[in-house]
Structures are given as structure tokens and as C-alpha cells.
Amino acid sequence: MAKTLFINGKEVEFDNEPNLLEVIRKNGFNVPTFCYRPDLTQFGACRMCVVEVVYPNGRTIVNSSCTMPPEEGINVKTNTDRVRKIRKTVLELLLANHDRECTTCDKSGNCELQKYSEEYGVRNIRYAKKDPEKYLPIDHSNPSIVRDPNKCILCGACVRACQEYQGHAVLGFANRGSKTTVGPVAGRELASVDCVYCGQCKAVCPTGALTLVNEVDKVWDEINNPAKKVVVQVAPAVRVALGEMFDMPAGENVIGKIYSAMRKIGFDLVFDTNFAADLTIMEEATEFIERVTKGENLPLFTSCCQAWVRYVETQHPEMINHLSSCKSPQSMLSSLAKYILPKTKEGYTKENTVVVSIMPCTAKKAEIKRKQLTDNGQFDTDYVLTTQEFAQMIKSAGIDLKTIEAEEADSPFGEYTGAATIFGASGGVAEAAARTAYYLITGEEIASDDIVELRGVDKHAYNKDVVLDIKGTKVKVKVVSTLAEAEKAIQAIKAGTADFQLLEVMACPGGCVNGGGQPTSCNTPELRIKRAEGLYNEDKCDTEFRKSHKNKDIIKLYDEYLEKPNSHLAHELLHTTYADEFKGSYKDL
């Protein structure tokens, strides 16, 4: 028989929930939280989730529900005068120490501290306000993340995210008691440590202590400059998440509306990064086959994820030759745009073309500043806006995403196949590569396009091993998300126990659908599952075009310009190099 307990008088069943908070939320009740994140370890720092617990013998305690295991027969009261007073005092104390300039804060409207202060009606703070003279400096050094220690409430979510997801906590607690702070080692800047720019710290931050580098104004300036031709591309994972910021359900694919909003905003040409994802598969699958044939630099590491690339470069520089030389789809499209548009479209020159990309990712902001991704000193991609920034842009332009009509993307970089769409979920790159590699090796189409073993974005699917049978040849593929899992794979390679030939890595848990630039989802892991479903639904709705080599515009691109995958021109435009230099890294002692 299932065990039961009472919540506010209602008898509910529980099973193996890790803590009382989960039981409370599962049964339609709620308590506020700052430090609790379902995918991270429980920490019990913020004390907002306190509840009164009455034991069967009448003893009453007040305890944090996130750290208390559910017990048979207890009566949990989530909304008593006592716990409400405690929560309000917690809020007052946090706010006394907080930089409360809300209107100019990047987190405004999306801040949990702001939200609970409003819900609990905090209008008067009994404690003295922190003297602004004593505010600590804001760290603007990192290309992706801004850190404002004056807005930190010491919940430790960022420290845990960095440690548990990426395995090497660049953020940590320092000092003790009232002097406690969170930050990089020894007061360094976030640009002078081994940060991989994934943005997961920002994604779990309940306040404005960690925010993204907002570049919306710079993009508006480019759009409003008549001398510039501003073209835009949008990544796979954005289309299934953007709708959430406009009251649409998670996973609803709004790509047509995105194209339409982009034109209304004033972008000159609207492209889809999915086109370049198909191109990546053509190049990377060819590269993979070549490496397997020659037996060198195996396993091949995928290189779409900039956080992963940076991780290999800083932590395992001796393994950079394993990384695929393919640029990320974003960078491929940007190079192509600046190479082909001036030849084909009137009014476009290499100098006046500005490429903006809309990405689910904060690391992409760092990627575009790599010196390997420039041409004659000019960056391939000019700006990266995250899903969140793009939503802000749409809203400020007065566009109602929900009601606008869907449109199509522009030629020549607008066509894509289902294989490209699934790039946004962990396992998608490997699945797409398998479909095309099968064809390139055997000349025949793979029997089933669905390689379901490679799918899954929840916390039990951070590590997937699949053996593919390519007409008798067995190819072992390993798919991981989070760098903590990637590190295990690397250790296996170093120990000589790795038996896989392809390693797909996405640094964010579950892949790009859960990227650091996506709408906040740290309290609801189901959101990324719905987003991934949205991608797989688009993949299967057009049965003819589920493989990158079937993309007609890709075939045309090779016919007209690139000749064949990994050709000389393809190498020049679509491939890159990696560096084992440690600028800004711990090894740069």
C-alpha cells in the first residue's frame, strides 16, 4: 500500500520523491523557492520553502521542505501565519542587502526575488538599506555573462550548476558569514577563469546577479543604419521555445512566425541556421568517414557546441585533433552569407553585410569573437542575440507573435530538412549524421530514419551509447550532454577503455533546447522535454526531407560553389582550427 501524508488537511500519496517539496508541488500546492532547482542537489540555503510539520504525536516543527524527506502520517501546513511571517522576514533581509534598482535590471520581470516580494506584499523593509557606496564592482569582462555581486542572494544555484553540470565550478563561495560572496577564484574576473560561457549559471540564477550580455540595442542600431544590409539566422532550438515568452505552450513550433517577426523588425534577409545544420552534416559525415577509413583522430568529437570546444581547448588541449574541423552551423552560415550574398544580391558587399544570429546559447556570443572565425580581420558573425533578447526585441517592436501570419525564409539559406531541426536536442546531431553517413557509405538510404535510442533530454539521458549497424559495419556512437559527462568520456579515451568512434557533446543538460539563452526553465524540467518533442515532431512531419543530403538547396550549393564536401573551398569557408593557447585560463599562470 502506498504511504500517505497530509498537506493542508488533504491526504496525499507519496512514493520515492526525494523531498517533501516535490510531494507538495506534485499535489497542486506550492511554496516559494530560490535555491531549489529540481535538477541540482538540494541545498537548503534560502529558507523560503519552510513549512509547519505536525507529527502524529502532536509535536510541531518548522522545517525547509526541500531538505526534508516525506514521512508517513505527518501533517504539512504550507500556508500558516508562522511560515508566512518567516518567509516575509527572509525577503526583507535579502532585500536589505540587495541593489533594488529593479527597473534597470536585466532580470526585471523575470526575477524570482521581485516576484515573491510582490506576492508577499513586501512594502516596507525594517532593516537599513545597504550603502550604495559599498557596492562591489559589476563584472562585465565575460563575453556572455554579466555578474553583479550586489544582486546575489547566496542561494548557490550557480555554484551547483557549474559544478554538477559542467564539472569544474568556476564559481564558488568565498569567505564566511556576513562576508560570504559568490564568484570566481580569488576575486578574478569571469573572463580570467576557465568559464565555457554555457550560461547555465545564469539560467538557474533567481535574481539579476547573473544576466546575459544584452546586445539588443546594438542590433537595432545596425537595422536603423541605411548603409547596412542586416541579415539574420535562427537556430533550431529557438523555434520551439520562443513561443513560451508569448503565452504559447512549450514545444509549439513558431518558426513561420519568427521569419515574419524578423521581417517586421526590419531585417533585410531572413535565413535559417537549419540550412547550415544540414551543411554541417554533409561536411562532418564526410569527415567522419574519412577518419574511420584512415583510422586517425578517433573518436571524432562534434564541434557545434562552443562551450564544449572551449572546454577541450582549455582542459584537454592535447585532444583538439579529435574535434571535427567543421565550424558550428551558425559560423558556416555567416561565412557563406558574406561570401555568396555579395556575388548574387544587388547592394550587398562584404563590408556592408551584417550577420545577426538568434541562438538559444550564451556561448555563441563568445564563439563569434574567436580569431579563427574572421576573414581579413572581419568577424564572420557580427552579433548573437539569445532567444530571450529576441523576444524582448519583438515585444518592443509592438509585434504580437501569437497573431501574426507565418512566412517562409529567404533563399538561398532557408531550406532545411528534419535532420537539421533535431540539432537542437541532445543526440540530434548524431542521429542526423547517421542518416547521411549511412547513405554516403552504402549509397542506400537508412531503413528507418528514427534512431530513438539517441533521443531523450531529461536528467536520466545525459549519457547515451548506441551501436549503429551500417550494412554489417558496427559504428559505436556516444552522446553526452553536460561537460561532467563529457569529462567521463574523455577519461575513458585517455584510459584506453573507450570503444566509440563518434562523441557528440552538448554542454547544456539535454542540449540546446535547454540552452543558457532560452526562456527560464530551471524549475520545470518538463519544458525542455516538450521543446525536444516539438523538434522531433517537425522532423517526422515531412517524410521526404528528413536527411541532410536530400536538401535541394544544399545540393545546389555544392553544384554551384563548393563542388563536394570537404573540397578546397568548403575547407576555406566551412572549416576551422583550434588553439591550445590558454589565454584567460587557469593554465595562463
Binding site: Q163, A169, F173, P184, V185, V193, Y586, L589
Partner: protein, 168 residues
């Protein structure tokens, strides 16, 4: 400054000393406190470079190690002098005149406000809450040696003695 010079010479030969300490403690996470103590024993404090170096060698990140090092007051992240003078300012020592003794030391060593280590890098002064030797108040401890019933004059003589030993 003398202290900085000492620091540079300490790292001129790389992190060999740190490596041997790590070897001894098998690079284990559980041994972090012991490792930090051994390193502090070697350098008198925990240099930032060493903390970062540890983070690249141990299964702990530099930020995590820094967190431990700044949590415990036994660890110092600032260079310390050859002689660490701990002056007790617990209740008993305070009422028996620990502050005049502290001022005498500061005057003798030419320490400015907020400065704890003398310019020659020989002496570091710290106040502690209680040394548990209230019967000897006011008391100071220099490195491991306890000096009871201090006065301003006595402490100046002790420092002079140490200085003359240094000059030998």
C-alpha cells in the same frame, strides 16, 4: 618589497614543493585541508597561484579550493612574516592592557593602519580572541613560543632581540 621578492624566488623553480605535498596526500579531495596546511607550512601563507595550480591538479576547482581557504581563519592568503606575533585580545588580556602592547608593537614595526606585515617581511601581527592562557594576561605568542604578562617595554625588547638574531 622584500616579501614579493621572497615570493618570486619561491616560484622560480616551479611548483615542485607543491607537487611533492600533493604526492604525499595522493591528490585526494578528502585531504584538502591537510594539503593546504602543508602548503601554508611551506610558504607561511597560501599564494593565489598555488590555489589555482592545485585546482588544475586535484579533482576540485580553484574556486572551490579558494572557498575552503577563505572559510577557515587558520589559512592566510596574504604573505606572512617569518615571525607571526599573535596578540590576545580576549576579555582578560584586554582589561589587563593588551591594546597598549599592540600599539607598542605597531609603533616598533612602523605598521600603518590596515598593515599587518612589516616592510622588511619579518613580522606579522594578528589579534586573536582568546589563547586560553588568561592567567598569564596579557599574553602574546610569537610563532610557537608564549610570552606571558606583556608590557609595552617588554615587547619592544623581545622584538629587538629577534632583530639582532636576524642580523647575525
Amino acid at each position: 618589497m622584500e616579501v614579493e621578492k621572497n615570493f618570486k624566488t619561491a616560484f622560480a623553480g616551479g611548483f615542485g614543493v607543491v607537487d611533492s605535498i600533493l604526492e604525499k596526500y595522493e591528490y585526494k579531495k578528502a585531504n584538502l585541508i591537510a594539503i593546504l596546511q602543508a602548503i601554508q607550512g611551506e610558504y607561511n601563507y597560501l599564494p593565489e597561484e598555488v590555489i589555482i595550480y592545485l585546482g588544475t591538479k586535484m579533482p576540485l576547482s580553484p574556486a572551490t579550493i579558494y572557498g575552503v581557504a577563505t572559510f577557515y581563519s587558520q589559512f592566510s592568503l596574504d604573505p606572512k612574516g617569518k615571525y607571526v606575533i599573535k596578540i590576545c585580545d580576549g576579555t582578560a588580556c584586554h582589561v589587563r592592557g593588551s591594546m597598549p602592547v599592540l600599539n607598542a608593537i605597531k609603533g616598533k614595526l612602523n605598521l600603518k593602519e590596515g598593515q599587518f606585515t612589516s616592510d622588511d617581511g619579518l613580522f606579522t601581527v594578528e589579534t586573536v580572541s582568546c589563547l586560553g592562557a588568561c592567567g598569564l594576561a596579557p599574553v602574546i605568542v610569537i610563532n610557537e613560543k608564549v610570552y606571558p604578562k606583556m608590557t609595552s617595554d617588554a615587547v619592544k625588547t623581545i622584538i629587538d632581540t629577534l632583530l639582532s638574531e636576524e642580523r647575525k
